[in-house]
């Protein structure tokens, strides 16, 4: 371990008097809503985000970057009847905030009336505020962050000679206050923290270089994986990519590891979002109460998980979030609607303005190795590249890398191939979901075994 080589600022980077900040925001919010109403707005919504924190990156046991973050954003939406105007600013000074109110009101003069525009109905506003234990400041200093990053990189570089260099180990710590109020009288303020540690490594052999990484993220720094675990996992992953080659073009089963599988859950969410539905631009149009996955798959939204990465008792419009099934035994139970899209569709809003608040996919009882052996022959996908997803028709075609499996065992690394199919078939073709849950995301799932996709290679 290197000795401290720089004299960094010693005061904590997450020091924030949350209570007085919230009081201040509350006063500002009320005042601006009043101001907008005085200018003729019939409905007003105010959102503020204040974020402070730091990021320290080390490379080759030296500090590479020390970054202090301090971000403000203020956004105002006004409605003059059904005409809408939005203005935002990073400047929280009195004069800038007043100018922002003017700008939003001015825009609303020119936009055209849309009968579906407006705040969500007053009676739908969340009323039960909850402490979801999202705020865990750790009194982080640059020196402390540096030590964690150095330790992580040290374990990574020491893991094997095949690790040729580090692209950096980074410790991030951020504290945020999210404030939201509207002219229905709804007010909420949520302080929260987010800490993360990552390691990016390069391994090399005669064939060339490979890069891979690992990271851990949590609301409470005590819940992070250890520096050793992160460094060693990154090392293990990058080494496993050496000696790979392309495979033949063919159709084969595909086993997606959890961080790739949860991408498919995000695709599902995008396809059942209100805006995709009223634009009729989704392959899941009119699929409510339809079976789109096999029986054994259910997906439940859990907004009230303590310390959850996407936990919240209200959505981005102030609606109460709720525990609900998105998918029950393969059948789609709800679309994801904000109040605008709900009005367009003649349905009720579902508390999904801003997205889903923690989504859990029911897991089976097989671990990753058992899934590999069940697949027998096929491709484990550990990385996808590019944006080849067409939500209008469900077509999916992306660059990929991973491992070729034969006789139920991993044979070698595979790269420079694509995997392609249609999301509808892929969803229906899920044969198993593993119990190898990845806790680093608001989508909680294990690996997915999909019966067949087209692999393009040699």
């Amino acid at each position: 371990m290197a000795t401290p080589d720089v004299s960094m600022v010693e005061h904590p980077a997450d020091e924030l008097d949350v209570k007085s900040e919230i009081d201040k925001l509350q006063n500002v919010g009320e005042e601006l809503i009043k101001l907008a109403k005085a200018k003729g707005a019939t409905q007003v919504e105010v959102g503020v985000s204040k974020d402070i924190g730091l990021s320290v990156q080390v490379r080759n046991q030296q500090v590479e970057t020390l970054e202090y973050n301090r971000d403000n954003s203020f956004g105002l939406t006004v409605y003059f009847g059904h005409q809408k105007g939005v203005a935002t600013t990073s400047d929280l000074s009195d004069s800038a905030l007043r100018q922002t109110v003017d700008a939003a009101c001015n825009i609303a003069k020119y936009t055209q009336a849309d009968q579906c525009s407006g705040l969500a109905d007053k009676e739908l506003m969340a009323t039960e505020s909850m402490d979801l234990e999202l705020d865990w400041p750790m009194g982080i200093t640059a020196e402390k962050a540096k030590q964690v990053a150095l330790e992580c990189e040290n374990y990574a570089l020491g893991f094997s000679d095949k690790v040729s260099q580090s692209e950096g180990a980074t410790f991030n710590s951020h504290r945020n206050i999210r404030f939201f109020a509207n002219s229905h009288g709804f007010v909420a303020a949520t302080p929260s923290t987010r800490h993360s540690l990552s390691s990016v490594l390069i391994a090399q052999d005669q064939q060339g270089m490979q890069r891979d990484y690992w990271y851990t993220i949590a609301r409470d720094a005590n819940d992070l994986e250890s520096a050793k675990a992160v460094g060693e996992k990154a090392a293990e992953r990058v080494i496993s990519r050496l000696g790979g080659y392309k495979i033949e073009t063919q159709k084969a089963p595909v086993l997606m590891v959890p961080d790739i599988a949860r991408g498919l859950v995000s695709n599902l969410c995008a396809a059942i979002r209100g805006s995709s539905l009223y634009r009729k631009s989704t392959f899941l149009l009119d699929s409510i109460e339809q079976k789109i996955f096999p029986d054994f798959i259910s997906m439940h939204e859990r907004p009230f998980i303590k310390k959850g990465l996407a936990s919240s008792w209200f959505d981005n419009e102030g609606l109460a979030t709720k525990e609900q099934a998105i998918l029950e035994q393969g059948v789609l139970k709800t679309y994801l609607l904000n109040s605008y899209s709900a009005r367009r569709l003649g349905l009720n809003p579902t508390g999904h303005a801003g997205g889903v608040h923690n989504l859990h996919v029911t897991s089976g009882d097989m671990n990753f190795c058992q899934l590999v052996s069940q697949m027998e022959k096929g491709l484990v996908v550990t990385e996808v590249m590019g944006h080849g997803i067409n939500l209008v028709n469900g077509d999916y075609s992306r660059g990929a890398s991973g491992f070729w499996v034969e006789n139920g065992e991993i044979q070698h690394f595979v790269e420079e191939i694509t995997i392609a199919g249609n999301l509808k078939d892929m969803f229906a073709g899920v044969e198993a979901v593993g119990n190898d849950l990845d806790y680093r995301s608001s989508v909680l799932t294990g690996s997915w075994l999909i019966n067949e996709m087209t692999i393009a290679g040699n």
Binding site: T88, I107, M209, K246, E416, T418, A420
Partner: protein
């Protein structure tokens, strides 16, 4: 001192009562630590967007952002802090935080000299003020009308315009004192089309460092036409093929190939760290001799162009690959200094709150001599791809992807059936060695490119003539 600097100084410094002497003093205060380079970057941005959907302009927003980023470099270390307040105490706090990266006990003198003789590549008109709000709405309504008139199968049109007016001032301990005023506009149209129970989407866009006056009726018609054509083509599309085959890329936007396959891999930071598949390969053959590729920030009015980069270096035209031989990297000040070379005007940052990195401007391949028709007729069985969505690259392994948004089969030297969107994958250092024909039809893209790196987005341009690549992996299902 040039005129633009005076106006910009007024904008940032006068309200806070700061003079250029104060800037020198602040920079000198950072040199009391062992700092090789100290810099302050002031930025003020105004941004607006207007969106039409279902026939009405229902969404519009306006935003302002202003602040200063303070950076200290020592060896390979970077210290960085920023503030939304442009006031002396806030500047002092940010300077204190960023210089903490280096040891105490040094001193230095800073003499700022404003850059002279830099010719602006774009006007300093604020696009947001270039049209009345009624005229902006009119542009959107025309896009909607044109698209719907062109094809009755169009069921929805989403049209948008956006304007950005960005003002920057950068000063640094190397004496740099420079400013730039940067307009940027963009118009997009996306159509949804239905036929026989099938639905498809098509889109098109245009933009550049101009004001809204470029959006003539003729151009709007062309945009609508392209979007409608794309949706209509995709309604007829059959499954794309899977496997290795010859691919002919059309001119213009398909140059996203160059951006992903070689561009990122030639950025200075990756090469300093030795993490690029192109590291230590200057002087070696990385493309067929038909290929000469440049990064050119000096094209007037282009989306990726910059009169000066975000470190105050005038932009330039850098030859990256000449007749197939790798000739150079794109550099910012930090990586140029550490690699013993010169900055190339590629130091770019998304905003004052992010660090500058070596980034591309407008990256394109020079024209060749072949008739584009001959590229197609030389292929027995392959893919013709005139339009793309985005791409991505792993600069270490060199593997890159880009995804077609309009493509066709080539059968016996003729373009036949349209095929569905497919991702193409290749290896950056290899793919251009397989370029066997280069068309004489160089075109630049229409000005809608956005490049992401380390979470920072910046506007860029790409371009190329038609290219024939003898073998590339096509990721269809057929």
């Amino acid at each position: 001192m040039n005129d633009s600097l005076t106006a910009v100084e007024q904008e940032f410094l006068n309200p806070a009562g700061i003079g250029t002497d104060d800037l020198s003093k602040l920079l000198e205060s950072m040199l009391t630590h062992k700092v090789d380079f100290a810099e302050m970057y002031f930025q003020s941005s105004r941004h607006e967007s207007w969106v039409l959907e279902s026939g009405i302009v229902k969404d519009a927003s306006f935003s302002t952002d202003k602040g200063v980023g303070v950076r200290a470099l020592t060896d390979e270390k970077t210290g960085f802090a920023y503030s939304e307040e442009i006031l002396v105490p806030a500047l002092e706090r940010a300077a204190e935080a960023s210089k903490s990266i280096a040891q105490k006990g040094h001193s230095g003198v800073v003499k700022l000299a404003s850059s002279k003789g830099i010719k602006p590549l774009y006007s300093d008109n604020d696009p947001i003020m270039s049209l009345s709000e009624e005229e902006k709405l009119d542009i959107l309504k025309k896009l909607d009308q044109f698209a719907r008139q062109m094809d009755s199968r169009v069921t929805e049109v989403i049209a948008s315009i956006s304007g950005v007016f960005d003002t920057i001032l950068v000063c640094a301990s190397d004496g740099t004192l420079a400013s730039d005023i940067r307009p940027l506009v963009r118009a997009n149209v996306s159509v949804i089309m239905q036929q026989d129970g099938k639905t498809e989407r098509g889109g098109s866009g245009v933009g550049g460092r101009h004001d809204y006056q470029i959006l003539t009726d003729e151009l709007l018609k062309q945009l609508a036409q392209e979007a409608v054509h794309q949706a209509s083509t995709n309604l007829q599309a059959i499954d794309a093929p899977a496997g290795n085959m010859p691919v002919v890329l059309g001119p213009g936007w398909p140059g996203v190939l160059l951006h992903e396959a070689v561009g990122h891999g030639l950025e200075g930071d990756f090469n300093r760290k030795g993490s690029s598949a192109f590291s230590d390969r200057v002087g070696q053959r990385v493309a067929s001799e038909l290929c000469t590729i440049v990064d050119d920030g000096t094209l007037p009015g282009r989306r990726g162009s910059l009169s000066i980069d975000d470190e105050g270096t005038p932009s330039q035209c850098t030859t990256l690959i000449e007749n197939g031989i790798l000739t150079g990297y794109m550099q910012d000040k930090k990586n140029a200094r550490l690699m013993g070379s010169k900055p190339t005007g590629n130091g770019r940052r998304e905003s004052y709150s992010t660090l500058p990195l070596p980034r591309m401007t407008n990256t394109y391949m020079l024209a060749g001599e072949s008739d584009p028709k001959d590229l197609i007729s030389s292929v027995k069985k392959g893919l013709y791809a005139p339009n793309f969505g985005g791409g991505q690259v792993d600069i270490t392994s060199g593997k890159f992807v880009f995804t077609t948004s309009e493509a066709y089969l080539i059968e016996d030297g003729r373009v036949t059936s349209p095929v569905k969107g497919a991702t193409l994958i290749g290896n950056g250092p290899e793919v251009l060695t397989k370029v066997s024909m280069v068309g004489n039809d160089l075109a630049l893209d229409k000005g809608v490119g956005i490049c992401g790196k380390d979470g920072q987005s910046v506007p860029v341009g790409v371009g190329q003539p038609s290219l024939k690549i003898d073998e590339l992996t096509v990721g269809g299902t057929g």
